[in-house]
């Protein structure tokens, strides 16, 4: 059947090539609809409880999307007329930022104090240029002492200050809105940078995080793809030893990723950097198919066959293994749909389409294309593999020590897996080549915590936030949080009430405490609310019907596990010290990402196990043996386990990128096993070889090809390690590691395993088969 089709293809090469080109252009055109996503929420499914908690928080209070502009004067002095004027001007101009809702800084901080019997509410620094040194020092003391400002908008040591812009995006077209806001802010800041060369300006915040995603995507496209293409050309040239085969394979590699991205792109999706790693993976995977087919083809040519005949023979012997490996790889990638993070669904589906497209192109397009290209003189080196001979002899000779030592290594590495720590952190997702990363690290160093958590603390009904018991509880909670080593700053409504109580009592320090009367507190709050200027209201801290307040906590850049631990301690404190209705978990992007890997691993497990069963079933059918199917599970599963064990030793931080490595590599790792086992089984069944000889045969026939494809795959996945985006980097390194280990396991552990488990019984089986 496949022979007849191939004969037709090689006889009508032009028709096939033109039809294929048409198809590629038609589907690939859809890729133009793809937009770069600028929203961290892309990594969360809509039913993610941590996303829902955070959205709920933002519905109750103001949005907490923000850009923090930090200013660090090189001489370390913020409090002089020049820098204060800068802060004042920047604060004023920041109201012009598109979609800005609120601007906070030391300059427009609403300073309250008593004057005779009245309470004055006014901006802390206004007309700074006219302030005397004494006035500046007095205001400096206020800023460094105020719990709202210190450690937040002014460094505790007074050497850095910030302007925080709260952004409320309409969210109609976030992919355009975020760059619009960031572009405006950067332009504005550039102007001040020029006027104030002695001041360092740094930007961070949720909106900057969002903007870092498309920037990382763009960098991926600009830097990764050319490297990948160069790498492919080099690898192909060395493995195929000729220009025409290299070009043919290259066209298939490019066409299959074009088709995949094009089909995916038609509906106009938004993509994260993760999705954009798909073409790199497809290109890597597509090469293997072509190498197998072209190597056999060149064998035929070398033996003196005609071009069509050599091609038909090559397709005949390669059709089944190429189909099998493509299907298992596709199944592996489809398990990414079980991920809790939608970008991996896209990645899995795109690669799945790409792998199947590569299969179809290799079987139907490559034969036709090769007919149109000049055939070449093929060196006799194809198929020569004395090294494989030596390798198989070594493995067979030392199979017991190998079996024992590898078992030990495998067990030890797998035992090390729990040493891995979960870590996801939107700042460390980006490497230092992305400015967002270095700016955020600088701000964390000089000004304030760049990660945050929020607690929406319910009071007892409407207007309950002024209840003295409630205020005392949140004040104690704030004290508890401040005593935690990871916490840099806590913003709480109780600080406002304490300050008002002091102001209303003639600035008497002994009144710096929660008012002891509910009505008094309610009326202070009303007076204060009526005194606040445009945009600086209490809605970011107190909800609409005054039945809850938001406590905002700035924390150090800590790992996911540390964030979860801190949150657990906070919840435990609330459970012990607060009424039940106040107990709540923290909500923020940091909390969402802290849980993402764990959730993702949990959701992936089902999918991976299912795929493993499916793939094992396919292998059992392909090699027609249940027992060998079960044995093949070991080399399929062990490499990922070993890789995670090694990771625990060398890095130990497991993030979102690693949670999907099992799914990514499963179908690829299986390929090695399939190739080795099919040859081994054929040697035993068709050639009636003994186990040792069958192993030698398998080494001899597929050893070189497996080594070559493994090198290609490792190199391809390692290209992802160059991405500025950690999810891609980790996914690339870990996949390459797993694929490399798979080859080692297939060469050094699978054969001893077969010698141990498959020898006696099969030998007797065979003798029975021979006698009957």
């Amino acid at each position: 059947m496949i022979e007849r089709i191939t004969w037709w293809l090689v006889r009508h090469p032009w028709a096939v090539v033109i039809a294929t080109l048409f198809l590629v252009v038609a589907t690939g055109y859809g890729a133009k609809n793809i937009k770069l996503n600028a929203d961290y929420r892309a990594f969360f499914s809509n039913d993610n409880p941590y996303l829902q908690a955070f959205e709920n928080l933002q519905d109750q209070y103001n949005k907490v999307d923000n850009i923090l502009i930090a200013m660090v004067p090189k001489d370390g002095e913020v409090f002089n007329t020049r820098i204060l004027t800068l802060v004042e001007e920047l604060t004023e101009e920041s109201w012009q930022v598109p979609y800005s809702r609120r601007v906070d800084s030391i300059s427009n901080f609403q300073h309250t104090y008593a004057e005779e019997d009245d309470m004055i509410v006014e901006s802390l620094f206004e007309y700074s240029a006219d302030l005397s040194e004494e006035e500046i020092q007095a205001k400096k003391a206020v800023a460094l002492k105020d719990p709202v400002l210190a450690g937040n908008l002014i460094a505790y040591d007074g050497k850095a200050t910030g302007v925080n812009i709260t952004i409320n995006l309409p969210g109609i077209n976030q992919a355009a809105e975020v760059p619009e806001v960031v572009g405006f802010v950067r332009e504005m800041v550039a102007k001040y940078e020029e006027a104030y060369p002695e001041v360092g300006f740094y930007l961070t915040g949720v909106t900057m995080t969002n903007n870092a995603f498309p920037e990382a995507s763009a960098q991926d496209i600009k830097e990764l793809y050319p490297i990948m293409i160069l790498l492919i050309l080099v690898l192909l040239f060395f493995s195929l030893k000729g220009m025409w085969g290299t070009l043919a394979t290259f066209s298939i590699v490019v066409f299959s990723s074009t088709i995949a991205m094009g089909l995916f792109g038609w509906p106009g999706p938004e993509v994260t950097p993760t999705t954009l790693s798909a073409p790199v993976m497809i290109m890597t995977l597509a090469i293997a198919d072509c190498i197998h087919i072209l190597m056999s083809y060149y064998h035929g040519i070398a033996k003196g066959e005609s071009k069509p005949a050599a091609m038909v023979e090559s397709i005949r012997i390669n059709f089944q293994p190429v189909l099998l490996t493509s299907v298992t790889t596709a199944i592996g990638f489809l398990t990414l749909n079980f991920s809790d993070a939608p970008p991996f669904h896209d990645l899995g589906n795109i690669v799945c389409i790409g792998v199947l497209a590569a299969f179809l192109l290799a079987i139907f397009f490559l034969p036709a294309l090769m007919m149109l290209l000049p055939s070449k003189k093929v060196s006799e080196s194809f198929g020569e593999n004395t090294k494989m001979q030596k390798l198989s002899e070594f493995v067979i000779k030392h199979f017991r020590p190998l079996l024992v030592s590898f078992s030990v290594i495998i067990v030890v590495l797998i035992a090390l897996i729990p040493l891995n720590e979960l870590d996801d952190n939107t700042i460390e997702y980006f490497d230092w080549s992305i400015k967002f990363r270095s700016d955020s690290e600088m701000i964390a160093d000089k000004l304030t915590g760049v990660q945050s958590m929020n607690y929406s603390l319910k009071a007892d009904g409407e207007m309950g936030v002024v209840d003295p018991a409630y205020l005392n509880t949140i004040d104690a909670f704030a004290d508890f949080l401040r005593s935690q080593p990871e916490v840099r700053h806590v913003g709480t409504f109780s600080d406002v009430m304490k300050r008002l109580n002091k102001n209303m009592n003639g600035d008497d320090e002994s009144y710096y405490k929660v008012p002891n009367d509910r009505q008094l507190a309610a009326q202070y709050m009303l007076l204060y609310e009526l005194s606040l200027p445009y945009g600086l209201d209490l809605t970011n801290q107190v909800n609409g019907n005054k039945s809850a307040t938001r406590m905002s906590v700035q924390i150090d850049k800590i790992t996911a596990q540390e964030i979860i631990a801190l949150d657990n301690r906070a919840v435990a404190w609330l459970e012990e010290n607060a009424p039940q209705y106040m107990v709540t978990e923290g909500a923020s992007t940091a909390v969402m990402f802290a849980h993402i890997t764990e959730r993702n691993i949990k959701s992936m497990i089902g999918g991976v196990v299912g795929a493993l069963f499916l793939i094992s079933f396919i292998i059992m059918i392909a090699i027609k043996s249940v027992k060998l199917g079960f044995i093949s599970l070991i080399p399929n599963l062990v490499p990922a386990g070993m890789a995670f064990g090694l990771w625990a030793v060398f890095d130990g931080m497991v993030g979102l990128g690693l949670s999907v490595v099992m799914g990514v590599t499963l179908g690829i790792v299986v390929d090695d096993t399939v190739h080795f086992m099919t040859k081994y089984v054929r040697a035993k069944r068709e050639l009636n070889l003994k186990t040792e000889a069958a192993i030698e045969y398998a080494f001899h026939t597929v050893g070189v090809a497996l080594t070559a494809t493994t090198i290609v795959l490792c190199a391809g996945f390692l290209v992802l390690a160059l991405s500025p985006f950690a999810i891609n980097t980790h996914m690339g390194i870990m996949s390459a590691l797993t694929i490399g280990l798979a080859l080692i396991v297939d060469f050094f552990f699978l054969p001893p395993l077969l010698l141990q488990l498959d020898k006696n019984k099969n030998e007797t089986d065979q003798s029975k088969g021979a006698t009957s």
């Binding site: 519905d59 109750q60 103001n62 109201w95 012009q96 930022v97 598109p98 979609y99 800005s100 809702r101 019997d117 009245d118 309470m119 004055i120 509410v121 006014e122 409320n168 309409p170 409407e462 207007m463 002024v466 209303m504 009367d517 509910r518 009505q519 008094l520 507190a521 309610a522 009326q523 202070y524 009303l526 007076l527 609310e529 009526l530 005194s531 606040l532 200027p533 445009y534 945009g535 600086l536 209201d537 209490l538 809605t539 107190v542 609409g544 019907n545 005054k546």
Partner: protein, 261 residues
């Protein structure tokens, strides 16, 4: 003959000047006319329910009463706002003196403290008790508080309207501009759009169910403010308007605040 021609020329000139009235002058003229039609109400009082509606539609109501006294001559109006709910703020009273040429003066009486406190006068652009109204939206709209620019005629809600831009003169205002739809028949503001400091549309006010009092004074029974950026809204429901009930100047003083009921 020459005389006739001269008169004709003068008439022509006159009509030209009439036509040449600038859009700023026309805008101002409309504001002055609207102000004039509101003159002479003397004093009034009304019950007011303020309902805050968040982006999810959850409502939070608050009740208050407002008493107003018309200003005489160059004086602006005076108003007294008494809070009835929530219970923790019951009895709080706010006295406002509007001024044509400077920031308004405001005092607040806090019954729990039994004291009158002056409110920082610069800041009247913040949200009024957590609502989508700023105090500057509900205080007396003196002509001098804005400069004007007539834009066009337009039908709104079935009524012929002037559409007039107005620009706050107070630098602490939260707005760069407002656009008002004023009906030609009665000079009532039917709709006002508010533009924030970055000149984006922030909110829209619609005054509905206008009723006529004393055959002269139109007052809306319902004002709805919708914030387009936060998706939150606020309704003001007016009930039981009374005019010329004999309120006196001495009921609108700092000292009288404590006795306000």
């Amino acid at each position: 003959m020459i005389k006739t021609m001269l008169i004709a020329a003068l008439f022509a000139l006159g009509s030209v000047t009439a036509i040449a009235q600038t859009s700023q002058e026309k805008g101002l003229a409309i504001a002055v006319e609207a102000d004039k039609r509101g003159e002479g109400f003397g004093d009034s009082q009304v019950e007011l329910k303020m309902v805050l509606v968040d982006s999810k539609g959850t409502e939070a109501p608050r009740d208050m009463r407002v008493k107003s006294l018309e200003g005489v001559g160059e004086e602006g109006d005076k108003s007294l706002m008494i809070f009835d709910t929530p219970i923790d703020q019951k009895g709080v009273a706010m006295l406002t003196y509007t001024h044509k040429d400077k920031s308004d003066d405001q005092w607040l009486y806090l019954p729990a403290l039994k004291r009158v406190k002056k409110i920082s006068s610069k800041n009247k652009s913040g949200p009024f008790v957590g609502s989508e109204f700023a105090f500057e939206d509900i205080s007396s709209q003196e002509v001098e508080k804005y400069t004007y620019n007539y834009l066009r005629d337009e039908t709104f809600d079935g009524k012929d309207c002037f559409v007039v831009e107005r620009f706050p003169t107070d630098k602490y205002s939260g707005y760069t501009k407002q656009v008002a739809w004023i009906d030609k028949a009665e000079y009532r503001a039917l709709k006002i759009e508010f533009y924030d400091r970055k000149k984006s549309l922030l909110k829209t006010l619609e005054n509905k169910d206008y009723k006529l009092y004393l055959d002269k004074f139109w007052r809306p029974a319902l004002s709805v403010m919708q914030n387009h950026q936060t998706k939150k809204g606020t309704r003001l429901e007016y009930k039981g308007y009374e005019f010329q009930v004999g309120l006196k100047d001495r009921e609108f003083t700092k000292n009288s605040l404590k006795r306000a009921k």
